[in-house]
């Protein structure tokens, strides 16, 4: 814990990504693998299920600091982070504990889960006493799961790459699933992340999925499609399904379903897992999990409801049946098919879905048209179809890693002309029915790509509508909890929430800080699945803006 707390302090004590990388590499090199295994897990975003009820933590802290409840709450509101508040309030002490991170997590923290309150109270109290404030902060952050310190998963991957002398992309592949909710990091899994190339040939024998290949938004006027994209025949066009991106892995007689968040969701979707059992070993399919009824996709909300259920009963499985809408094959007969061209993978996928018939396995159909205007006409049916538009996949494209363009290209040609994932930065109370609730929001995007040192959020749009009353109440509670400053009726907020904003037009505006004005912005969706780091950048808006410019003469 001592070394990990020191690493935390070092990472937190700089805004330079290079310095953070160097600190991570130093730490990983001198730390026993069992401890490094957990460090990587937490830094890459892993969160164990709740270890201790929050109310219990607060009670413990109040008691130890001898503070009335209201004063503890005042402190919490000023700090905005429970772990930090507690660490700041406990009576000071020196660090006398020498146990490593693995021992802390495995022997001391995880066993707390589910203990009766009277036992828990004493165990909890004994935990923090031998730690100094810095180590306590880390301890309580591990317990509350709010472990964000400006270290992104790609940065952890780079550090591991450096430690293992590996291409970070290779590490990214091995990292998939490492922070899954059910994962239990240990020395062996950690060493497998950094094992020399070749020693992990059999490493894909388990349920390991591949990193997902992600699409880029296509924001080009239709009349430029021929210039930008060329002949439609060079593209594989499919509907863009609005569901949960997933990989279905079938190996060694077992099957796994992975979501794009790299969580194992096999048990959430037993129908899909059942379909996987038909497939031969050494098969990995990529696609979208959607709710499928009467031959058509059902609204995303239905899928969301189903994810929210703790247990799945027969009624839910009947009313909201899930399928995998398969659109790619990444592994076949144990061979990695990702380097092969899209068209070849597609041909194989078609035979697979034809040969292994199961109600929870569908083939995402290819849409064929003579030219781009015809596609545009077909695309107008998207809303009726319950899809988000088209996906355009280069016929020659290999399956890349993440949002890359080096080995192939996928475009998403969405129906909403403009949509941006933005961060809630300011909130103001609403009026009338919404009086006393914070309902008027200002949203921001990043001014630079992730991992840029010192990048900042730039406000660009206000939006007042798009949330349900229930969501408004939830957001209001978050606004109060994360307020940084109050300027009259306006509160500036710690950036914690991401919303998908939809808007109709975009133009340059010197009156706006971002230099950009948008028309009719509204909240399309609360992206609770996204972290603030994942919000869009100003470059996305600039690209939209560029796409509105008339083509140059004589082109």
């Amino acid at each position: 814990m001592k070394a990990f707390a020191a690493l935390y302090a070092e990472l937190d004590g700089t805004t330079s990504n290079n310095a953070r990388l160097a600190a991570l590499v130093r730490y990983l090199r001198r730390t026993p693998p069992a401890d490094a295994a957990w460090a990587v897990y937490f830094l890459a975003g892993g969160k164990p299920r709740q270890i201790v009820p929050v109310a219990m933590l607060r009670e413990m802290a109040r008691h130890a600091a001898a503070l009335p409840e209201w004063l503890f709450d005042e402190c919490y509101q000023a700090v905005g982070d429970l772990a930090e508040t507690i660490a700041l309030l406990l009576p000071p002490a020196a660090l006398t504990d020498e146990a490593g991170l693995a021992e802390w997590v495995e022997q001391r923290l995880l066993p707390l889960r589910g203990l009766p309150p009277e036992v828990l109270r004493d165990r909890l109290d004994a935990l923090w006493r031998p730690l100094d404030p810095q180590a306590r902060l880390v301890l309580f952050k591990l317990i509350t799961g709010a472990f964000r310190i400006g270290v992104s998963r790609p940065l952890v991957v780079r550090a591991l790459g450096e430690v293992g002398g590996l291409d970070p992309k290779r590490v990214a592949e091995r990292m998939v699933g490492y922070t899954d909710l059910n994962a239990r990091p240990d020395a062996a899994r950690y060493l497998a992340l950094i094992a020399p190339e070749g020693e992990d040939a059999a490493g894909r024998s388990g349920g390991q999925p591949y990193p997902f290949f992600l699409a880029h938004p296509l924001q080009v006027p239709l009349d430029q499609f021929d210039t930008v994209l060329g002949d439609p025949a060079r593209w594989q066009v499919e509907w863009k399904w609005d569901g949960i991106r997933a990989q279905l892995v079938r190996r060694g007689g077992q099957c796994w379903v992975w979501s794009r968040g790299e969580d194992l969701v096999t048990e959430r979707f037993p129908e899909v897992a059942d379909a996987a059992k038909l497939l031969p070993d050494g098969t990995v399919l990529d696609g979208e999990i959607v709710i499928w009824h009467d031959g058509r996709v059902q609204p995303f909300a239905l899928l969301q409801q189903r994810i929210g259920r703790k247990t799945l009963n027969a009624k839910i499985l009947r009313d909201a049946p899930a399928i995998l809408m398969a659109y790619d094959v990444l592994e076949w007969a144990g061979e990695d098919w990702r380097p092969r061209p899209q068209a070849e993978r597609r041909a194989l996928l078609e035979t697979i879905v034809a040969d292994y018939v199961h109600p929870a396995l569908e083939l995402s159909p290819r849409i064929e048209a003579a030219d781009w205007p015809s596609y545009a006409t077909l695309r107008e049916a998207s809303r009726q179809m319950g899809v988000e538009g088209f996906m355009l996949k280069g016929a020659e494209a290999a399956y890349g890693v993440g949002r890359t363009k080096d080995v192939g290209l996928w475009w998403k040609w969405k129906i909403d002309p403009y949509s941006v994932d933005a961060v809630l930065l300011y909130a103001q109370r609403g009026h009338g029915r919404r009086a006393s609730l914070h309902t008027d929001y200002t949203f921001a995007v990043w001014n630079a790509p992730p991992d840029t040192p010192g990048r900042a959020l730039v406000p660009f749009a206000k939006a007042y509508s798009g949330l349900t009353d229930e969501e408004i109440r939830e957001v209001d509670a978050i606004v109060r909890r994360t307020t940084v400053e109050t300027f009259g009726p306006v509160r500036s907020l710690q950036p914690t929430q991401v919303f998908e904003l939809a808007f109709e037009g975009i133009a340059r505006s010197p009156r706006h800080k971002s230099g950009i004005a948008v028309r009719f912005p509204r909240i399309a969706r609360w992206r609770q699945d996204k972290t603030v780091e994942e919000a869009d950048t100003l470059a996305v808006l600039e690209d939209m803006l560029a796409a509105t410019a008339p083509p140059k003469d004589g082109g």
Binding site: G13, T14, L88, T486
Partner: protein
């Protein structure tokens, strides 16, 4: 019950029998100034009174004012009110104002901190019946480490940067905090142990001179232009600058410098991150929570009036602990730096 010796008026805190104000925010006839920070010492009044060691800094800020000074502890009587000034330990010349009249004693603290910092007379508890206290850091989350420890951390940080060939830019308030750091790093490292040259932003020059004139030892300092563009010393320097210099062209000459901010607000990770600096050094010229409580208890006052800061919290807590507690609305800000949450500035 005798009438209150100090009341809140639109012009500022007012002593009715003495007919003078303490740190008025509007021009008045007679103004007693607790210290020379801009929110406590404003221009336009006809007569000023401050503690003798504060003359230099006050005149640097408000040149040409009609100023009378009192030695700490020296008593004068004005309209029957006995007035004396006592060290508040906040910045050079800062004073608590003690008033005695009609059998009661009132003390207005201005801003204060308890730990002696070597750049001004240390805080002195003054017994009174009613104590007017600030509450800038009036939450239990604010607890300071000893100054010597923070100074050692600053020197370590500076040394690490200098060895890596990076200048160390430290933002701090130009009056008080800057001189405290200059004096403190010198004490901590010794004149021969400083990792590199010290460069002071132009905004500090006059105040540094005022401190030096009062006998406060400061390290030798350079102006940015004293170092040639290619001098390696540029990358070993500790650069002290006011917060307003952050991202200014003036700083570009130091290249890829490490930066830090020194303030009590740096206690919170969020404030530190919003500043966008590498490091935050928790160093305040105000009392922390234990300090506030200790100072209040030491006055043996029955009644406590809370001003600027976390007023409602302090009033409620003191009341629960058995004090007769109330608040005054003032226009004092929290000059500890500009990172102060605006929410509390209005409270």
């Amino acid at each position: 019950m005798p009438a209150d010796l100090i009341v809140a008026r639109p012009e500022g805190l007012y002593c009715p029998p003495g007919d003078f104000y303490i740190d008025p925010w509007r021009p008045v006839d007679r103004a007693v100034i607790t210290h020379a920070h801009a929110d406590h010492a404003r221009a336009g009044s006809a007569h000023y009174l401050c503690a003798a060691p504060g003359r230099g800094v006050l005149e640097a800020r408000l040149p040409g004012i009609p100023l009378q000074t009192l030695a700490y502890g020296e008593r004068i009587v004005h309209h029957g009110v006995e007035l004396s000034l006592h060290p508040a330990g906040h910045v050079l010349g800062s004073a608590q104002v003690r008033l005695a009249h009609g059998g009661q004693v009132w003390v207005a603290s201005g801003d204060y901190k308890l730990e002696a910092d070597g750049t001004c007379a240390p805080f002195e508890p003054v017994r009174c019946d009613t104590f007017i206290t600030e509450s800038t850091f009036g939450l239990p989350i604010y607890r300071w480490q000893p100054q010597a420890q923070i100074m050692a951390e600053i020197v370590d940080w500076w040394r690490g940067n200098a060895e890596a060939g990076r200048a160390s830019v430290l933002y701090c308030y130009a009056f008080g905090k800057a001189q405290r750091i200059l004096h403190g790093v010198l004490q901590s490292a010794g004149a021969d142990g400083l990792p590199g040259p010290v460069v002071a932003h132009g905004a500090l020059a006059q105040l540094n001179a005022a401190y030096a004139a009062e006998g406060v030892t400061l390290p030798p300092m350079m102006q940015a232009d004293d170092l040639p563009a290619r001098s390696p010393l540029r990358h070993q320097a500790l650069v002290l600058a006011p917060p307003s210099a952050q991202r200014s062209p003036w700083l570009r000459r130091f290249g890829d410098a490490a930066d830090a901010f020194a303030s009590g607000w740096m206690q919170l990770r969020g404030t530190r991150r919003r500043r966008g600096v590498d490091r935050g050094f928790v160093l305040s010229d105000h009392a922390d929570w234990p300090g506030l409580m200790q100072a209040i208890a030491a006055t043996a006052a029955q009644r406590v009036i809370v001003t600027h800061g976390n007023v409602p919290v302090m009033v409620r807590y003191l009341a629960e602990q058995g004090w007769q507690a109330q608040s005054f609305d003032t226009h004092f800000g929290e000059e500890d730096d500009e990172a102060a949450p605006a929410a509390e500035a209005g409270a």
